[in-house]
Amino acid sequence: MMAWLGGVLLMLGLLFFLAGSFGVLRFPDVFSRLHAVTKADTLGLGFIVLGLGVLQQDWQRFLLMLLIWGLVMLSGTISCQLLGQYGRDQTRDHEESAE
């Protein structure tokens, strides 16, 4: 039962990573690509951490993985914001020079 639950959670996580990768490859501009790739980081990794936690049933390791997930989320959010700001400045400069 637990093995099934863990497997399903892992598959869900992988699905988000796959969708995020496709998004980076297929979406047209910086902002929608960032949207896609940060979903993979937060939700994908979250589901994988949950799945591994269910499979391992070792609360110490689970807490450690949760901590890693939190750090990845924080750095992902912040680098997403920074890249977004950079992208906005770049497009604005581009439009100004085109006018």
Partner: protein
């Protein structure tokens, strides 16, 4: 075939593809990014081989700091680089010949290497582990059995820094200061310092040690410096020079001290062999000093202060 085999095979192929893609990339920025990804995958490969020390060092130095170094070099490039003058017709042929002969020599050398060395020194090293002052074999090799190599590595790092100080790099483009990045780097600082010293302390019993800890410290310093939150790390300041030399100096002093303590008339003396009761303390002292030295040296290599020279 087991899942492990396919994972490792995929990893190997991915490494080759990434290496080729790095060389072939049209844009320098893309090449640097691919190189960082290559470093991370290489760290994964080391971890798969059970070499956690190397994996940590590769991820921190190979992927992290070298990536930052290459990006900061890229930021100093002029906007458009003129393509190099096309070489003569014979040049590709000569390059091809050189590649083929190098490849042959390397391949032949690799072929000669036995997979299981007949005269492995591992059992002997494991036997002496008890008298090395540390419980982790890699640390024992790095700082006791082969301390000489590590001392020379620290000297190489020092020479690299002195070498880069002779190169006149152009000024970097004006840095943009983003409030978000500054807030984040300040929040990250205590965590990085904590993890760095944890990795250093853990080196006595498990993978970790001075190089990995130094790289983490350097990461914290580089982020702070690039965000303009640290004053210029001027080479003229005495404490900068002292910290850069700290690793080599601690090594030499420990070596001299143990020479003096081990001294017995009419007996061959061994350079850099620690007396047993002092071994743990000496190793810890050297590692601490080396961590600070490596951290600051790597920071200066990446940040590359320029203003102090022109001023």
């Amino acid at each position: 075939m087991s899942g492990d085999f396919w994972f490792d095979a995929l990893l190997g192929v991915l490494l080759l593809v990434l290496a080729l893609a790095t060389i072939q990339a049209r844009q320098l920025a893309a090449a640097v990014m691919l190189y960082v990804v290559f470093g991370l995958m290489l760290a994964l490969a080391w971890a798969r081989l059970g070499a956690a020390d190397l994996a940590l060092a590769e991820a921190a130095i190979g992927a992290g700091l070298t990536g930052a170094l290459l990006f900061s070099a890229l930021a100093r490039q002029p906007k458009s680089i003129t393509p190099p003058v096309r070489a003569g017709k014979m040049a590709p042929l000569a390059a091809l010949m050189l590649c083929i002969s190098m490849g042959t020599v390397l391949g032949w050398t690799l072929w000669q290497l036995p997979l299981q060395p007949a005269h492995s020194q591992l059992p002997a090293a494991l036997e002496q582990l008890g008298s090395s002052g540390t419980e982790h074999l890699v640390t024992a090799v790095l700082l006791n059995f082969r301390a000489w190599d590590t001392l020379l590595e620290l000297l190489v790092l020092l020479l690299a820094l002195l070498g880069t100080r002779l190169v006149a790099a152009p000024e970097p483009a004006a840095l943009q200061h983003w409030p978000l990045a500054r807030q984040w780097s300040i929040r990250l600082l205590p965590l990085l310092v904590l993890v760095a010293f944890f990795v250093l302390w853990r080196g006595a019993t498990a993978p970790g040690g001075a190089f990995q800890a130094g790289a983490l410290l350097a990461a914290a310093l580089v982020v702070l410096r690039l965000n303009g939150q640290l004053p210029m790390l001027s080479f003229g300041a005495w404490w900068v020079r002292a910290l850069i030399l700290a690793g080599v100096l601690a090594f030499l002093l420990a070596g001299l001290l143990s020479l003096w303590l081990n001294w017995q008339p009419e007996q061959a003396v061994q350079w850099l062999s620690w007396p047993l009761p002092l071994a743990k303390g000496l190793i810890l002292l050297i590692e601490l000093c080396a961590t600070l030295a490596i951290g600051l040296t790597l920071t200066l290599l990446v940040v590359g202060e320029r203003k102090e020279l022109t001023a």
